[in-house]
C-alpha cells in the first residue's frame, strides 16, 4: 500500500469532505492521483472542478468587491476564494447531500427558511447566468465582470436588498446570501480548503490559527499573542505542500 502522510490525509479528507479518517483511508483513490489538482503535491492548485470560465469570471469579480484587496491586505479573490467555492460546490455541500430535498416544494415564510429545489451548486449555476443576463440588458451587453466597480457594487447591493429578482427559480436574495456566506467562509476557513491563502483572512483580524494550548497565555490580560499563524496543515498557509 502506498504510504500516505498524515498531512496528505488531512488535506484529502478536507477536500473530499469524507466523514472520518478511516472513511478516507478506505475510500477509492482517484485514478489520476498523481496529477489530481486536489492533492497537495499538485503544482497547480487552481484547476477548477465545478465552475465554467464565465462563472469563474463572475465570481472573481464579485469576490473582489465583497472582500476587496486594499491596504489592509489581500481580499477574497486574491486569497483563493473562488477556488474555495469551486471545491465546495464539488463536495457533498454543493450537492446538498445532508439536506432534506424531498417535495412537495412550496414558498414558505422567511421563518421557515430555505425552500428552493436547488442545491447550492445549482443555485450558483442558475444565479450567475441570470445575473449576467440581467447585466447585459441593463449595461449595454456587458457581463457583471465587465462592469466598472461602482456598477458591480450596485448590482451586488440590489441582489442583497432583494431588489433584483432574477428568475422564478433563483431569487436574487437567496443567490446573494449563498454567495456571501461562501465567500466569508472561504476567507476564514483553514487554508487547506483553498481560500484564506497565506492566512489572509486570519492575519487581517489577528486570529493565530487553531492552536492547542493557551494555559500560560490566557491570564496575560491585554497582551497581544505573538506566535506565528498556523493552520491544520502547518505554517505554510497554502493547500500546497510546504
Amino acid at each position: 500500500m502506498e504510504k500516505i502522510t498524515r498531512r496528505q490525509l488531512l488535506l484529502r479528507t478536507a477536500l473530499t469532505g469524507s466523514a472520518s479518517l478511516f472513511g478516507s483511508l478506505l475510500g477509492a483513490r482517484p485514478a489520476n492521483a498523481d496529477s489530481n489538482p486536489l492533492l497537495p503535491d499538485s503544482p497547480n492548485p487552481q484547476t477548477y472542478t465545478y465552475f465554467t470560465q464565465p462563472e469563474i469570471a463572475f465570481l472573481s469579480a464579485a469576490l473582489a468587491r465583497l472582500i476587496p484587496t486594499d491596504d489592509l491586505g489581500p481580499g477574497a479573490h486574491e486569497s483563493g476564494g473562488v477556488y474555495f467555492i469551486d471545491q465546495q460546490m464539488a463536495s457533498p455541500f454543493g450537492r446538498a447531500e445532508r439536506w432534506y430535498m424531498q417535495g412537495p416544494w412550496k414558498d414558505g415564510t422567511k421563518e421557515q427558511g430555505y425552500q428552493l429545489k436547488l442545491t447550492p451548486a445549482q443555485l450558483y449555476r442558475i444565479g450567475i447566468r441570470a445575473v449576467d443576463a440581467n447585466c447585459r440588458s441593463r449595461f449595454s451587453g456587458k457581463t457583471f465582470a465587465q462592469l466598472g466597480t461602482a456598477d458591480q457594487d450596485q448590482v451586488l447591493h440590489d441582489l442583497d436588498d432583494g431588489k433584483l429578482n432574477l428568475d422564478e427559480d433563483a431569487p436574487g436574495k437567496d443567490f446573494f446570501d449563498m454567495l456571501w456566506q461562501n465567500t466569508h467562509e472561504g476567507y476564514f476557513a483553514d487554508p487547506m480548503y483553498g481560500g484564506n491563502r497565506n492566512f489572509a483572512g486570519w492575519k487581517l483580524i489577528g486570529f493565530p490559527g487553531p492552536r492547542y494550548n493557551y494555559v500560560d497565555d490566557i491570564g496575560k490580560f491585554g497582551k497581544r499573542y505573538r506566535q506565528p499563524t498556523v493552520g491544520l496543515s502547518g505554517r505554510n498557509g497554502n493547500i500546497r505542500k510546504g
Binding site: R6, F93, K110, E111, Q115, W202, G206, N213, V215
Partner: protein, 587 residues
C-alpha cells in the same frame, strides 16, 4: 419482513449522555444492556485529535457531527393556520448523531435549575396569585423537587468533573458563588477555570452595577481529574474549540471521557451503530412494550425484543417515536386533551455586543468559561411589577474566537466590502458579547405532532413543530437584555449595541439546541406522558429520558438537569422497578 433477534434485558434507543449513564447503572444492577445508535462510533482517538478536529468549516459550519436532515428532519410552522414546511438544513438547533450524542459537541455549560423551577405553577400562584398566569400558558410542576434531585445533580457533577464555585453549601451562602442556587451538599469537584480578560471585565462591571457575578459551572476541567468511575481527565488548555467539536484533550466531559472507558469493557453491555429505530412494538394488551424495530444502513429491518425499553434519543425524536408507535394519547391543541407532543418549549436568547479598547484574545477560551449573574433568572426577583413569568441568566462566555462564526462588528458596519473588512480588522481582538439565556414557558399552541405531508427516508411521517415566541417571552427577554446592557455600559466600551430577538421565532439562525417537552413528566396522566420516575403512564416497561420530559423550559442550559433526572430514573429502576415490575406510580 423484520429479522427477529434474541431478546435482551434492556434496549436503549440512542447512545448519548442519558443512554451512557443508564447503561452503566443498569449493567451494575446485573442486566444485559444493548444501545442502538443511529450514527456512527467516534472517540477521542482518533476522531478528535487536536490537529484534526479544530476545523471550523467542517464541524461548526458543515455540521459533520450532527444529524443529517436528508435522513430525518421535522417540519415547522409558527402557527396552526400555516402549512408546515421541512427544515431542509439545520439552523436554529443542532441535534447530534453518533455515539456520545450532543455530549460530544456541547460547550459543557452545566447548571442546576432553581428549586422554584420544579414547582413553577404552585410557586407562581402562591407568590403572585392564580391570575398572574396567562390562560393559554400550560406550565406545570414537574412532580419531582429540587431536594429530591440534589443527590443526582451531585452525582452527575462528580461524574463530569465540573469546575465551579459553590454559592450555597447546605443552605449557607458562599461569597463568590451563585447566591441564588439551591443548596448543594458539597462543593464542585474542581475549582473554577482560569479567567479570560473579557470575563474579568464583566465580573467587575456586574459588581459595579450591583449584581452578583460568579464563575459559571463548567464541564471543562480546570485541573486533572479522576472521576468516581476511575476515568482520568486532563486539564483544559483553553484551545477554544468546544462547541460543535469533540475534545482532543480529555478535558470536556462527554460519554467518551467519563463513562465509555469503563462501560465498553463490560461483557453485559453492547451497542450497534447505524441503527435507526423506527417503532416501539407493544404486546396484545397495549400495556407492555415487546420490542423495537430498527433499520440498519443496508436497509435491513430487525426486531429487537427486550424486557425494558428506554428512549434516550434527542428530545423531539423521543416524541416522534412515541407518536409513530401509537404510545400515549396524541395531544390535540383544539381540545387541549391528549399528552404526547404537548408542552413543547424552547429558549429565547439575546446578546449585547461590546467593543472595547483592550486586546481580549477571544480565541483563548473554553466552552463553559464564563462569568454569569443569576439575579434575573427564574423567580430570583419580584415579577409583580413586570407582568411576565420566567427569566434567564446573563453571562459573558469566552468560548472561543473562531473566525467564521465568532466575530462581531459595530452596529451600522456595512455587511460586506471594504468597510466591513476594516471593521473586522479593527474589532476582532477587542470585542466580546454578553449573552442572555431566557426561559420559555409552555403554551396551548406550542406542540409537536405528525406531519400530514412530508416523510423521512423510510417513508414515515416527519415530526411537525408548531411554535412561536409569545408576548411573555419577548417581555422577559427585553427586560434581561436591558440588564445585560447595564453591565455592558459599565465595561466602559467604545461602543455597544443590543442584539434583541423580536417578532416570530425563526428556524433559520442558530439560537440554542435546548429544545424541550412533548413527553413531559408530572403527577397527572392527563397532563403528562411519563410519571415522576420518567416511566410511561401507559406502558410500564417503557421509560423516556432527556429534555423531552421538561414540562416547560427554564433559563439554564439543560444538560445538568438531564443528567440528574437520568440518575434519578436509574435509581428508581434499580431500586423500585426491578423489584416489582409494573407502574411505579398509580394513576
Amino acid at each position: 419482513m423484520a429479522k427477529k433477534l434474541p431478546s435482551t434485558d434492556v434496549v436503549l434507543v440512542g447512545f448519548g449522555w442519558t443512554a451512557s449513564i443508564l447503561a452503566h447503572e443498569l449493567t451494575e444492577a446485573g442486566l444485559q444492556v444493548l444501545a442502538l445508535e443511529r450514527g456512527g462510533f467516534r472517540d477521542t482517538v482518533p476522531d478528535f485529535a487536536t490537529t484534526y478536529i479544530q476545523d471550523e468549516l467542517r464541524y461548526a459550519v458543515r455540521h459533520e457531527l450532527f444529524e443529517e436532515p436528508a435522513r430525518e428532519t421535522m417540519t415547522f410552522r409558527n402557527s396552526m393556520d400555516q402549512v408546515a414546511l421541512p427544515m431542509r438544513h439545520l439552523g436554529s438547533f443542532m441535534p447530534a448523531a453518533g455515539v456520545g450524542g450532543a455530549g460530544v459537541h456541547w460547550n459543557g455549560q452545566t447548571w442546576r435549575f432553581l428549586p422554584s423551577d420544579f414547582m413553577i405553577r404552585t410557586h407562581i400562584e402562591q407568590r403572585y396569585g392564580k391570575n398572574f398566569i396567562p390562560e393559554d400558558m400550560t406550565i406545570q410542576d414537574w412532580g419531582v423537587t429540587y431536594d429530591e434531585l440534589e443527590p443526582y445533580y451531585d452525582k452527575f457533577e462528580y461524574l463530569c468533573g465540573i469546575s465551579g464555585q459553590a454559592g450555597n453549601l447546605q443552605g449557607k451562602i458562599q461569597a463568590g458563588g451563585n447566591p441564588f442556587e439551591g443548596p448543594r451538599r458539597r462543593d464542585y469537584p474542581l475549582p473554577p477555570l482560569k479567567r479570560s480578560y473579557a470575563t474579568a471585565k464583566f465580573e467587575q462591571a456586574a459588581k459595579e452595577v450591583g449584581f452578583d457575578p460568579f464563575p459559571c459551572p463548567a464541564a471543562n476541567t480546570s485541573k486533572p481529574y479522576k472521576n468516581p468511575l476511575g476515568v482520568q481527565m486532563g486539564e483544559c488548555t483553553y484551545c477554544g474549540y468546544c462547541e460543535w467539536f469533540g475534545c482532543g484533550n480529555y478535558s470536556k466531559a462527554s460519554p467518551q471521557t467519563t463513562i465509555l472507558p469503563v462501560l465498553l469493557k463490560k461483557d453485559s453491555f453492547s451497542y450497534r451503530t447505524g441503527c435507526d429505530v423506527t417503532r416501539v412494538n407493544l404486546d396484545g394488551s397495549g400495556k407492555l412494550a415487546r420490542s423495537v424495530t430498527y433499520i440498519d444502513r443496508q436497509g435491513k429491518e430487525y426486531e429487537q425484543p427486550a424486557d425494558l425499553i428506554i428512549l434516550c434519543a434527542f428530545a423531539q425524536h423521543n416524541v416522534h417515536l412515541l407518536l409513530v408507535s401509537g404510545i400515549g394519547k396524541p395531544y390535540d391543541p383544539a381540545s387541549g386533551e391528549g399528552v404526547v407532543g404537548r408542552n413543547y418549549a424552547y429558549q429565547i436568547t439575546s446578546s449585547v455586543k461590546v467593543f472595547l479598547d483592550d486586546i481580549l484574545n477571544p480565541f483563548m477560551g473554553a466552552g463553559a468559561l464564563g462569568q454569569g449573574v443569576d439575579n434575573f433568572n427564574g423567580d430570583n426577583f419580584d415579577h409583580g411589577p413586570h407582568g411576565f413569568i420566567g427569566g434567564g441568566y446573563i453571562a459573558l462566555w469566552t468560548t472561543g474566537g473562531r473566525p467564521i462564526l465568532q466575530t462581531q462588528v459595530p452596529k451600522d458596519t456595512p455587511k460586506w466590502g471594504g468597510g466591513w473588512k476594516k471593521a473586522m480588522a479593527e474589532n476582532y481582538l477587542t470585542s466580546t458579547e454578553i449573552a442572555t439565556h431566557g426561559s420559555v414557558m409552555s403554551y396551548r399552541n406550542s406542540y409537536l405532532d405528525l406531519d400530514p405531508t412530508y416523510r423521512d427516508v423510510y417513508g414515515n411521517p416527519l415530526l411537525r413543530l408548531t411554535f412561536d415566541f409569545h408576548d411573555n417571552e419577548h417581555k422577559m427577554s427585553r427586560f434581561i437584555t436591558g440588564k445585560a446592557a447595564q453591565i455592558a455600559q459599565a465595561m466602559k466600551p467604545r461602543s455597544w449595541y443590543p442584539d434583541q430577538r423580536s417578532g416570530h421565532y425563526s428556524i433559520v439562525p442558530y439560537q440554542t439546541t435546548h429544545n424541550t417537552g412533548g413527553a413531559v413528566m408530572g403527577n397527572d396522566p392527563k397532563t403528562s406522558v411519563v410519571n415522576r420516575y420518567l416511566q410511561s403512564w401507559d406502558v410500564s416497561n417503557l421509560f423516556v429520558m432527556g429534555a423531552s420530559v421538561f414540562p416547560q423550559n427554564a433559563g439554564y442550559n439543560p444538560t445538568g438537569t438531564v443528567g440528574a433526572l437520568t440518575y434519578w430514573a436509574a435509581d428508581a429502576i434499580r431500586n423500585k422497578y426491578l423489584k416489582n415490575r409494573g407502574p411505579l406510580v398509580r394513576a
